[in-house]
């Protein structure tokens, strides 16, 4: 029964608060640009509007076109069950679940890109090609970070990896590695969620888009799922960073949940600041940055491996 209660709490936090993060990011960027900006709850309004709308399907598309948005939502919801939210342990944990976590997002990527190719548009093919390229280059970084965390925790389960020992670990020599891991995970978070400096979610030219161009043809409820899935993914992938930076527990589940949410909001503000102060990278530079990040994470590994 406790398992169900924890799963319910996890899913509630995820499903209810995920779109808020996009609102906070947009608001932060608006403040930096000297605008008032849209209300914080705008993403919810957008979702509600899209759900009411009718979709339009290109005559080229098949059922694969719907598989993209479906996998985009199903995967983060499932992955969230493996990921501890702050001091709240994951409802579902076993040895080796960290690899399942990584590969689940592979499923979402596979079907998102397949759905893009399903339209037969060269723009969407281009977006798909960029997406898989960046993911390939980011994948080793993720593994390096996970190895570092596993080495520090001496465990192979996400709940143990991001357990209460982190507070003490920061003060040991391994703390330096943890710092590098946070930086690397932040870069991966920005790449995976198509944020500046790697991709601009608000760009208006199809040629320069990465993620947005893949979902050009989605409309109505499928597009709502795409947006919602992106928000969920941001929250799930942001959770380890929040946990690494705030490795404290209040001792009560409600306090832990509030602390986690506060951390997530701060992370959203941080992303908003990054997006406001950094220019977007040229496309050919992105692989170089990602390979650099891989080297950085490799360095973090060397530090803990000796």
């Amino acid at each position: 029964m406790e398992l169900f209660a924890r799963a319910a709490l996890h899913l509630t936090l995820l499903l209810v608060f995920a779109p808020l993060l996009s609102g906070v990011i947009a608001r932060t960027k608006a403040l930096f640009a000297g605008r008032t900006g849209a209300p914080l709850l705008q993403p919810y309004f957008d979702l509600a509007r899209l759900l009411r709308k009718e979709s339009v399907f290109s005559r080229t598309t098949t059922w694969v076109f719907l598989a993209g948005p479906v996998a985009g939502v199903a995967v983060p919801v499932l992955a969230a069950l493996l990921m501890p939210f702050g001091a709240l342990p994951a409802p579902f944990a076993f040895t080796g679940d960290l690899l399942l976590f990584v590969y689940l997002f592979g499923v979402a990527r596979f079907f998102t890109v397949a759905a893009a190719l399903d339209t037969g548009s060269s723009f969407e093919g281009m977006g798909g090609a960029r997406e898989v390229t960046f993911a390939c280059l980011a994948e080793p970084t993720v593994l390096f970070c996970l190895i570092v965390l596993a080495r520090i925790a001496d465990s192979l389960s996400l709940s143990a990896l991001l357990g209460p020992h982190l507070a003490a670990a920061w003060r040991t020599p391994a703390g330096l590695s943890l710092g590098l891991v946070v930086v690397c995970l932040l870069v991966v978070l920005l790449v995976e969620n198509s944020r500046i400096p790697f991709d601009d979610p608000n760009t208006h030219l199809e040629l320069t888009m990465v993620h947005e161009v893949m979902v050009l043809d989605h409309s109505g409820p499928p597009f709502a799922l795409v947006l919602y899935g992106a928000a969920l993914k941001l929250m799930v992938l942001g959770a380890p960073i929040v946990r690494l930076l705030l490795p404290v527990a209040t001792g009560h589940w409600a306090g832990d949940a509030l602390l986690f949410l506060a951390g997530m909001l701060l992370l959203a503000v941080l992303i908003g600041i990054v997006e406001s102060v950094i220019a977007r990278l040229r496309l050919v530079r992105i692989p170089q940055v990602l390979i650099g990040t891989t080297l950085l994470s490799g360095f973090a590994l060397v530090l803990v491996l000796r």
């Binding site: 979709s55 339009v56 399907f57 290109s58 005559r59 080229t60 598309t61 098949t62 059922w63 719907l66 598989a67 479906v70 199903a74 995967v75 919801v77 499932l78 069950l81 493996l82 579902f92 076993f94 040895t95 690899l99 399942l100 590969y103 689940l104 592979g106 499923v107 990527r109 596979f110 397949a114 190719l117 399903d118 339209t119 037969g120 548009s121 969407e124 093919g125 281009m126 798909g128 090609a129 960029r130 390229t133 993911a135 390939c136 280059l137 994948e139 080793p140 593994l143 190895i147 596993a150 192979l156 199809e206 050009l216 043809d217 109505g220 409820p221 799922l225 891989t294 491996l305 000796r306």
Partner: protein, 656 residues
């Protein structure tokens, strides 16, 4: 055991009645298919019976060849290789009824089926042989039978070339194996295979190197993979499935059997296998990404998957060198499960690719497009195989890669820094996984989605025939079964690992393989989520308008030729591997204000065969002929000088 032998005999004879049958009749092929099915079913039942009994089955009979003995041995290690063999061989025979019917191929159909049965039976013998001579005999029969399958369409120059290169590499490898078993016999005094862990490790360096070369050639480890891409591309699809899914694995089997003989494994064995595996994996998938011939691409993925298997074996060898049973078990269980899995999903992919080639008459990915509407079954099967080979849950590929990952992570608990460095296998696997995903999303998207890119693709009017669809669906089910219920295979893997290495019972089922059922459970939940959301979305968008064009960003007259091609999809990623692939590009530069039509083509030749070996041999041949022209220059005085020189040398030799 009797069932297994009977199955082997039925399989080897399966093609014989067909040889006497009518040239264009259907009777011969049906009888052959039935015999193969009976043979594989019987052999499979025999293997299962041995597994159920819990003790290895032995059979020994006299053989007139000196030193030879008809010794067979069925143990769990062989069973891991034999079970997928039975499934794929049986499936391939049924598939052949629709794919390579006698009516359409009256010239080579009967010969093909004869060698198909011969190849299948010789592989069974290879996997069960317990005597070096018997093993080598079966190995040679296998090589020759596979040669005839590759050259089925011998009227095509491509098939002849592929067959020739295959034959040369098979015999280069076999030569090393002859030396290997001769040395082994000198050490043990008998040609019978030594028992597991019965040989001291000392002086085994040469044995290991010979084995790595000989078995590596068959397995297709980089840089010994040279025969693989062309042979897989030239053979008919169900023969490619057999080659890729099963024949390569005999090399892996040989390597495992060889290493099981020794008590001590020097650490560098594990390191070299691990490094070769990582190189094969990464370069194999990068080369695959750059291909646009569907079957050649799948062949390069075999190199990649053999690399993944080798990484598992390398980690297991390290586990034995450094005395870590958990590492040994995880690495070997992952490698063995990947042997099974690769046999299943690669055959599935080759079968579905065959259905596409059959319908369109082309192997070029860029000539397909929009096939999902025209071949929904084939597309669904290919999609399943693609998800499985990318190692994505909930299919079987994930489970075996997961075990190898766990092995890599386990090295971190090692006592020495050297062993801990083996953890770098994990990021390498992640890179391989990412690249494989990119490659298969490319193939699936370009071939099955979008609009038809050629008249041939637009004219496709039939899905795979029921006889082709059946085996594909069976393999798809097998892939899903292992992915969703992986715990069921844990005992088999555990026992097979026990045959290979003396593992203490402490690391029994409880510890390392215990989370397998949980991985399956997550797969079930994923399927449930996908089904529920998909059903909702499908209902919600039932009435949506579906007759509008794709948004072309304002361009009013897009044509199917404007779609992103396979080459352009891979170009960005291939560009990151410029060093190592050396893709050749021709044309494409546009100049001037009003440019005339331009052509562009790109081509990625094999890094070893086309870049190093062929030019190297050509140079060697040229320098030899240059030398010959110098020596044999046709002038009489020179020849007299040779005679005088020879006499002089002989005098000196005699005088000493």
């Amino acid at each position: 055991m009797i069932w297994f032998v009977a199955g082997m005999l039925i399989t080897v004879l399966s093609g014989v009645p067909g040889l006497l049958a009518d040239r264009s009749g259907r009777g011969g092929e049906r009888l052959a298919c039935l015999l193969v099915l009976a043979g594989t079913a019987s052999a499979g039942a025999g293997v299962l019976a041995v597994l159920a009994s819990g003790t290895p089955a032995l059979l020994a009979g006299p053989w007139a060849v000196p030193g030879g003995e008809l010794a067979l041995r069925l143990d769990p290690l062989a069973a891991v290789f034999l079970l997928p063999l039975c499934l794929v061989v049986g499936g391939g025979a049924v598939y052949g009824l629709g794919y390579w019917p006698q009516r359409a191929h009256s010239g080579n159909g009967r010969r093909f089926r004869f060698f198909y049965g011969l190849l299948a039976a010789s592989m069974m013998l290879v996997l069960a042989a317990d005597n070096s001579l018997l093993f080598l005999f079966a190995w040679e029969v296998m090589a020759v039978a596979a040669f005839f399958l590759v050259t089925t369409e011998q009227e095509k120059a491509e098939a002849r070339r592929a067959g020739f290169i295959y034959l040369v590499s098979a015999h280069a490898g076999a030569l090393a194996l002859f030396a290997l078993f001769a040395l082994l016999a000198r050490q043990t005094g008998t040609l019978h295979f030594p028992a597991a862990a019965s040989l001291a490790g000392g002086g085994a360096t040469l044995l290991f190197l010979l084995g790595l070369f000989g078995f590596g050639f068959k397995a297709g480890l980089m840089p010994l993979h040279i025969w693989l891409p062309i042979a897989h591309a030239a053979a008919p699809s169900h023969a490619s499935a057999l080659l890729s899914g099963i024949v390569l694995k005999t090399g892996i089997y040989g390597l495992l059997r060889l290493t099981s003989f020794f008590t001590e494994i020097p650490p560098w064995w594990g390191w070299s296998v691990l490094a070769l595996g990582a190189v094969s994996g990464i370069l194999g998938v990068a080369l695959a990404l750059a291909q646009h011939d569907l079957k050649r691409l799948l062949a390069y993925h075999s190199v990649e998957n053999i690399g993944i298997i080798a990484m598992g074996i390398g980690l297991a060898l390290l586990g034995r060198s450094y005395g870590s049973p958990a590492l040994t078990l995880l690495g070997l269980a992952g490698a063995l499960l990947h042997v099974i899995n690769h046999g299943l999903f690669k055959s599935l992919l080759f079968f579905s690719a065959g259905a596409v080639v059959h319908a369109t008459g082309s192997r070029e990915i860029d000539h397909y497009g929009g096939l999902l509407r025209r071949q929904p079954w084939t597309a669904a099967c290919f999609l399943g195989g693609a998800v499985a080979i990318c190692g994505l849950p909930p299919f079987n590929g994930f489970v075996s890669e997961w075990l190898i990952y766990l092995a890599a992570f386990d090295t971190m608990r090692g006592s020495t820094l050297t062993l801990r460095l083996a953890v770098l296998a994990a990021p390498a696997l992640a890179l391989i996984g990412g690249l494989a995903l990119a490659c298969f999303v490319k193939v699936f998207g370009v071939a099955f989605l979008g609009e038809p890119r050629s008249a041939a693709a637009a004219a496709v009017d039939h899905d795979a025939a029921p006889s082709m669809r059946g085996p594909m669906l069976a393999l798809l089910l097998a892939c899903a079964w292992i992915g969703l219920l992986p715990g069921m295979l844990a005992p088999l893997l555990q026992e097979a690992a026990g045959v290979w290495a003396p593992l203490p019972r402490v690391t029994g089922l409880a510890a390392p393989l215990a989370p397998l059922p949980l991985v399956g459970a997550v797969g079930w939940v994923l399927l449930l989520y996908l089904a529920a959301l998909g059903w909702w979305l499908h209902r919600r968008s039932r009435n949506a308008p579906r007759d509008v064009p794709t948004w072309g960003c304002g361009y009013a007259a897009p044509t199917p030729r404007m779609q992103y091609t396979a080459s352009s999809f891979a170009d960005f990623l291939v560009g990151q591997f410029r060093v190592g692939l050396w893709t050749e590009r021709h044309g494409g530069r546009v100049t001037g204000l009003f440019p005339a039509p331009r052509a562009f083509s790109s081509h990625t030749p094999d890094a070893v065969l086309d870049r190093a070996l062929l030019p190297g041999f050509r140079t060697l041949a040229r320098s030899c002929s240059w030398l010959r022209a110098r020596v044999q220059n046709g002038r009489v005085p020179t020849y007299l000088l040779y005679v005088a020189m020879t006499l002089l040398v002989l005098l000196v030799v005699a005088a000493r």
